[in-house]
């Protein structure tokens, strides 16, 4: 006991006593114990009220009397009080008195024993009180944290397209907030992105990770970024954001607009399940990668898998929480059982039955983990590809440029022109086609007119490469020659006229040759002229083939 006492500071006592011989002997005894210090020694107050006032909360107090002081019966409940008396205690007093007692007839060893036990229990209670305080501080803190996390998730999700008509979801957080993330967004080409992610750790990591990941997901979906680039970006962000021991399992997929193709990346998630309308499990899309936030960008593997899916197929994405669902018998649901459920309820309308079965399996057992399940039907998404708005502001113009050796060698003429003039209102929605047409006639003028290249080279083995190497070489050696480009927009007709002229060699335009080329579907060159003939109106060559002029009708869909 001495060794125990030395480990802690001695307990400071306040003593009330009746000034009897017994009391003074007891005080002397108490003062002799190394684990006690008598801090104050006071006479017994005359009234209960006075006694109560002098008792301080949790201050160890000893009351000593030859007889039992009349006050003790009405003193407050406290294990911090000890009564020492020589008198026999009646059953009534013993029941009423909430503190400890020590009878005067004990041996000194027993007194020491009792006192040291009393001290120990006093210390434990103090510790308990301080633990209680800390705990309530932590709990408040956690509660604030929950609020914050809820806010963040609500924000992160506000653009989520869970209303997409061909997806059914069950999103059941184990706690107030969710460590799972199920995101859906349309792409501008009409395809659909779906992400199912599961962050490790409690509230904070998912919350801080969810915000940048969901922002990136929605922004990149709008820009029609590929799955591989998306996961690379997510991984980059999360690697920087999350400490080493935290990560994010993720299944990210894109369903093509026609509903026939799935491109996916699975990092650390359970296998997504592709099943037919009859419930047959056709594919298990298992994880080939580590979860996000672990691997540095340089080592990150972004390679995706593409899969043909049949009409009527569906795909089930889900987090760990689903297959690790505990039954009341404390058995895991397991992958087999999930597959079985999908086999039994493959139809869209039976999704609620499937949920009831899960509910039934779980019974009264609380959720241990967040549980998210999404079933997406593989069918035409029905999402309209976004078209660039065709601005019919009227703006007739004529643009011409005459490019000489230096300009031809140094400038990417077609790109420069199309990216500037493509901003004029009538042309905006047609940039890609205008580029193709202008590139065709400009390259013709440069390659055949000025550089004297023969398309026939392209027909040889490796001909394409040879041709473009030759082009490069001849262009750098070009001594003179110029190309004039004129673009004229006629607002009445809504047509753009192209006119491109060079001062080089004559070039024989033969429509038969073009026809022949164009009908040979597999010939790799000469397609440009064929395209030109199909897209252009009023196509005409003049000046021995040095000058070409045609119009392109902007009324057709961009």
């Amino acid at each position: 006991m001495a060794s125990q006492a030395s480990e802690t500071t001695p307990l400071e006592l306040v003593i009330f006593h009746d000034d009897s011989r017994f009391a003074h002997d007891s005080i002397d005894l108490l003062a002799g114990f190394p684990f006690l210090i008598v801090k104050e020694s006071l006479g017994l107050p005359a009234t209960i009220a006075a006694t109560k006032n002098k008792l301080k909360k949790r201050r160890p107090t000893v009351i000593i009397g030859r007889e039992v002081p009349s006050q003790v019966k009405e003193l407050p409940t406290s294990s911090h009080l000890l009564l020492i008396t020589q008198a026999e205690l009646s059953e009534q007093v013993l029941n009423a008195w909430q503190g400890d007692v020590l009878m005067g007839d004990c041996s000194p060893a027993m007194v020491r024993k009792r006192l040291s036990l009393w001290c120990a229990s006093h210390r434990v209670e103090n510790q308990l009180a301080s633990f209680e305080e800390s705990l309530s501080w932590y709990m408040q803190r956690i509660e604030r944290e929950h609020e914050l996390i809820e806010h963040i998730f609500r924000n992160a999700m506000s653009r989520n397209y869970l209303d997409y008509p061909h997806i059914r979801t069950l999103l059941a957080p184990a706690e107030k907030f969710n460590g799972d993330l199920c995101l859906v967004a349309p792409s501008p080409t009409g395809s659909l992105y779906v992400m199912m992610a599961d962050f490790t750790g409690h509230g904070l990591a998912p919350a801080t990770g969810a915000l940048p990941v969901s922002q990136a997901f929605f922004a990149m979906s709008e820009r029609n970024v590929s799955i591989a680039e998306m996961v690379t970006e997510f991984n980059f962000r999360l690697s920087r954001l999350l400490p080493d021991n935290m990560f994010c399992a993720c299944f990210l997929m894109e369903l093509s607009a026609n509903g026939e193709r799935i491109t996916y990346w699975n990092g650390g998630m359970p296998p997504a399940l592709v099943f037919g309308s009859d419930g047959e499990i056709k594919h298990r899309l298992t994880a080939k990668h580590m979860a996000l936030g672990i691997v540095p960008t340089a080592d990150f593997e972004s390679d995706v898998t593409t899969l043909k899916v049949g009409s009527g197929d569906s795909i089930a994405l889900y987090t760990d929480g689903v297959i690790e669902l505990l039954s009341q018998q404390r058995e895991f649901l397991g992958l087999d059982a999930l597959e079985d459920l999908l086999r039994r309820y493959p139809e869209r309308e039976r999704f609620t039955d499937l949920l009831s079965e899960l509910e039934h399996f779980r019974g009264e057992e609380p959720l241990r983990d967040d549980l998210s399940l999404a079933i997406l039907e593989c069918r035409e998404t029905g999402l309209e590809p976004r078209r660039e708005e065709s601005n019919r502001d009227i703006f007739p113009f004529h643009f011409s440029t005459t490019l000489s050796r230096r300009e031809l060698q140094q400038t990417d003429v077609v790109s420069t022109l199309v990216s500037a003039l493509g901003r004029l209102p009538p042309l905006t929605a047609h940039r890609t086609t205008i580029y193709l047409l202008l590139a065709e006639v400009f390259n013709n003028a440069l390659e055949h007119g000025l550089l004297g290249l023969e398309s026939a080279i392209k027909a040889q083995d490796q001909g394409f490469e040879t041709y473009y190497e030759l082009r490069q070489e001849k262009l750098s050696q070009l001594e003179d020659g110029q190309i004039t480009i004129q673009l004229t927009y006629f607002s009445e007709a809504n047509q753009l006229q192209f006119e491109v002229e060079n001062n080089g060699a004559a070039w024989r335009f033969s429509s038969e040759a073009i026809d022949a080329e164009a009908t040979d579907d597999e010939q790799a060159y000469g397609r440009g002229l064929a395209l030109l003939m199909q897209l252009a109106d009023n196509l005409e060559w003049s000046s021995d083939g040095r000058k070409v002029r045609f119009r392109y009708d902007l009324s057709q869909l961009g």
Binding site: T189, S191, N224, V225, S226, A228, S256, A257, N258, E260, R261, T263, K288, S302, D303, V304, T305, T306, K308, P385, R387, V414, S415, V418, H430, R431, T432, T433, Y435, L436, A439, E440, N443, K458, F464, E465, Y467, Y468, R471, D521, E522, Q523, A524, Y525, R527, G528, A530, L531, Q534, L535, L557, G558
Partner: protein
Amino acid sequence: MSVTRHLSSDGKELTISIHGKFDFGVVHEFRRAYSSLGDEKPVVYIDLRNTEYLDSSALGMLLNMRKAIINQVESVAIINTNPQVKSILEISRFDKLFKIE
């Protein structure tokens, strides 16, 4: 980095993406992208989601590619075409030779 290639780890899909301009400037890169196909007769996807401009040499390169690999692959699909590119490919009757999405 205007042409990127991903061969899936099971060797069954090869995805080739072209960023920005698809023209003779990427002729070598593009050829390299389909130069090794593995032994699994992959499906080849040409992903044009990031292709803003293309010219007729791109069409030629696509046809050359098709000729070069058609016997070693399962099929070739051109995917994620924007509406203008799609209509150009259709006018060129590429829909007879490639699956176009």
